[in-house]
Symmetry: C2
């Protein structure tokens, strides 16, 4: 079947070929990837719909910041949109695929050096292609005194995850908070270093975030203002001991009391890491996926699985209806104090059960510690029985029980209306915020389910914004919809982003449409992706 | 004596008068301050030299963000440079005075409302004119469950201090880290809200820093990109108990062992707040100022006070040569564990002495807790016997003993060369950085001492940069010199700052020269202030 090849919009074939030639001169022809087979690897494996909507025209894989600079300059010359990816994971958010069809993927996976590890000061300096696995191994080799904070799957990029505001499960779990110092290739091709890195020859780049003058690191997260080619990341010194805690509550309406009891414990740092509250359905699914079961093992009816079915299964499995898990990090005796305070706080809550495990320095790592990168239980996404995927809607809410339950319920109502099972985890981001991470699993073969899922996302985003909520992160297909939620004063913040975008990237070559930020000249694409 | 009146450079008298009229129409004529007497209050009380070099032409004091918007728009019309100040303190960094002589001070002191206090979530939303005293009182009135982190003097602005990267002495002591959500008037007069504040009608503005897309808050700190009209600040829940610790070491060459022993304790959060290491001379001066003594009571000779004199005085007073102080915040039993770990860490250090004090919830606040705003011991600055002032040079260094001592010594050498007493405190900013805060006291009547102090700053800045160090904050007279230290890749970061400055502030009306960022059209001023 003859199809017209995927090309950047508005770029002549001559310009495109000239750009590829220029890229090849920079990185070597073997690192300019244009074959169908190569391009296929950059499609979104979890695309909610036709992955071709976000197909790349090619990919180019540099080995150094200098090569990135040269590529960016060539892209300006030929007006080629570039889509930087670190290692190209980012499943559920678009994988390696660009917002704008026809963009050239700037694949940074070959820039995979751990440039520095400082055990005395607790940091590493890494390149974008370094995965959590890579960093973990490098830290072990360096002496094992520093621990990483890793998201569920360990194959992703340390830089990519932090830039997209990802989370882990240690006291260093708000990964964007652990960034200290960046090297950036600007859309013009210039190289800047932020923070103390702006002092030539400094050794203090990774120790102080603020430098002198405006603090830039945040502006290069969830953004298309530059390509991050190096980043400092703060790392936790190995603690003496770790405790795992599972709090189970028995009633369907126990979410508010769970949230309200955890809040002060997290705020006063008794709980000193990220906690996750799993909703009843998620507790089932997480248990099932370990056993290789899927939806048909529990329910064959139409629509969203009824709550009675879920609660019956949980009762049969001897599990609570609402479950919260988290780890504590301290000296061993400090853990005793923390656990006592947690026991005391939950003592008045009817039916509360607390289970714990302990680890001490010298013992081997255990999976529940979540400090070693793992392989994501990918089986989960096949919940609907076929090749699966998932979309997320994760609005931010304060950990106030009633407020969280109202938001949770309003989302639940829509899941039921759209006939989709409601898989939800509530994760804290620092002591003051929760993400209500509502996950829509789908079968990649089930076009109707995908259509309903996409519609559900849009309805949730619109309703959420009307109620004052915003999504913290979005799939490439929903970046405009998520940005639309941030509508104060006629989207004044987006206007500010786009003014700076135009100043830094007048030809609009870097990641057009990322986080809803479109360059001048291509703003007509807004809402179309 | 007839002097030509102070005016913004390049602005005609007609334009200036028209601007004042426009300002008066916005805020009422009583809040446009032009008399000599009024203008005098905006001079730098600690000016290292003639304060007239940074004289304002007038001041205008709005009551609301809307008025700030209107003032900024009028300033664009008449090309009037505005210098925003919160409450106008900022002693040693310029007080209320602008970098560019003739700027109009935009005095935000009337915007002094504490807009929200949330004891459950631990935050406040404040306006720029709110001082630490104001916030402390409002928190007590709201229930007393939240504590502030305050710098030494309590009269300054909560917003102003955080924006300038100021420090306090609690676990929330890195004040820029506690910022969550801003409202900004851009140089164009547009109003934006950052983070979750970009969601119309949200209640989640102060609970999550990241919002969606690029994170802006840092860019409005130490900057001239916008006027912050509201800011969220995270506050510490009242702990059960507090402990004060003083560690004293007996030898002149004990700085490295002090730093190296404190480092792992701070990194693993045993010490969970800012510590201060005072050099021998500072230990003398801090003790003296409480007794109303000054330099002549200890030394009448020329040049920098000899170290022997200082150590003799300390021995006579029964004090250590190097002293570190800090507070710990925890449950009472948690403090026991922390103190035991600190004792254990210093046990092998010859001559180490540790003194402690304790406080428990329910007892009245004590001064050593540093959680209540106080009046700065202003007497200190009169060290040289006349009306005093001081300049600071505070490079950032990693807490590695040898590295800190080398930097400390190289600064000491220059202080001796310039004949100035070396008052120095080393403060940690988070677990990984120290500020070597070298303070140059001067007599405002002693022109030669001031000249030497200014020369000393410039020498230290040049030498520091050559060795890879950068100052974290600077007086208005030294902002260009400090920015010069950040010289990587031909000052690429400054070029980035100025590109964004031009995009946001094409007429260059907002705080020209702040942190060395000059708008197009007035870059010729660089290095002249």
């Amino acid at each position: 079947m003859a199809q017209s090849p995927v090309r950047p919009p508005g770029v002549s074939e001559d310009s495109f070929q000239a750009a590829l030639k220029a890229f090849a001169a920079i990185v070597g022809p073997e690192w300019v990837l244009v074959s169908e087979e190569d391009r296929h690897t950059y499609l979104d494996a979890f695309a909610p719909g036709n992955p071709d909507e976000h197909a790349a025209s090619a990919a180019v894989a540099p080995k150094s910041a200098e090569e990135v600079q040269a590529i960016v300059k060539a892209a300006n010359r030929y007006r080629i949109p570039l889509w930087p990816v670190s290692t190209g994971r980012n499943l559920a958010y678009g994988g390696s695929a660009p917002v704008l069809r026809g963009s050239v993927v700037l694949d940074l996976k070959r820039m995979n050096r751990v440039l520095e590890i400082d055990e005395e000061l607790g940091y590493a300096l890494v390149e974008p292609g370094v995965s959590f696995f890579d960093l973990f191994e490098a830290l072990q080799a360096a002496g094992g005194k520093l621990w990483i904070s890793t998201p569920a799957p360990g194959w992703g990029s340390v830089i990519g995850n932090a830039l997209e505001h990802g989370l882990g499960y240690t006291p260093y779990g708000v990964h964007a908070d652990t960034i200290c110092g960046m090297e950036i290739v600007l859309p013009s091709g210039e190289l800047v270093r932020t923070g103390m890195g702006a002092v030539q020859g400094t050794r203090e780049w990774q120790i102080f975030k603020y430098g002198y003058g405006p603090v830039w690191d945040g502006l290069f997260t969830q953004s298309n203002f530059g390509v991050v080619t190096k980043m400092g990341v703060w790392l936790m010194p190995q603690p003496e001991a770790v405790a795992y805690v599972l709090v189970s509550l028995p009633n369907v309406d126990d979410l508010p009391v769970m949230v309200d009891t955890l809040r002060p414990l997290r705020l006063n740092d008794t709980i000193n890491a990220t906690y996750t509250i799993t909703n009843p359905f998620r507790s089932i699914v997480d248990g099932f996926s370990a056993q290789g079961k899927s939806r048909a093992d529990i329910y064959k009816g139409p629509g969203s699985i009824p709550l009675e079915v879920v609660t019956r299964e949980l009762a049969a499995a001897g599990r609570g209806i609402w479950n919260a898990t988290f780890n504590l990090f301290d000296r061993d005796k400090g853990l005793d104090l923390r656990l006592a305070a947690i026991q005391e706080a939950f003592a008045p809550v009817p039916g509360a059960k607390i289970q714990t495990r302990r680890w001490q320095r010298g013992q081997p790592f255990e999976q529940w510690m979540r400090v070693q990168p793992g392989l994501f239980a990918l089986g989960i996404v096949d919940w609907y029985g076929g090749p699966g995927g998932h979309m997320n809607f994760a609005p931010v809410v304060a950990p106030i029980g009633r407020r969280v339950a109202d938001l949770y319920d309003s989302i639940y109502k829509r899941f039921v209306e759209y006939g989709i099972d409601y898989y939800c985890g509530l994760l804290n981001v620092g002591p003051r915020a929760l993400l209500v991470n509502a996950v829509m699993f789908f079968n990649r073969d089930d076009a109707d389910l995908i259509r309903r899922g996409r519609e559900l996302y849009r309805v949730l985003a619109q309703e959420g914004a009307a109620a004052g909520y915003g999504d913290y992160r979005a799939h490439i297909s929903f970046m405009d919809a998520a940005a639309d939620m941030y509508n104060y004063n006629g989207h004044a913040l987006r206007a500010l982003n786009e003014r700076v975008k135009d100043a830094l990237d007048p030809h609009g070559i870097l990641a057009p449409g990322k986080q809803g930020i479109w360059p001048q000249g291509s703003r007509g694409n807004r809402g179309r992706t």
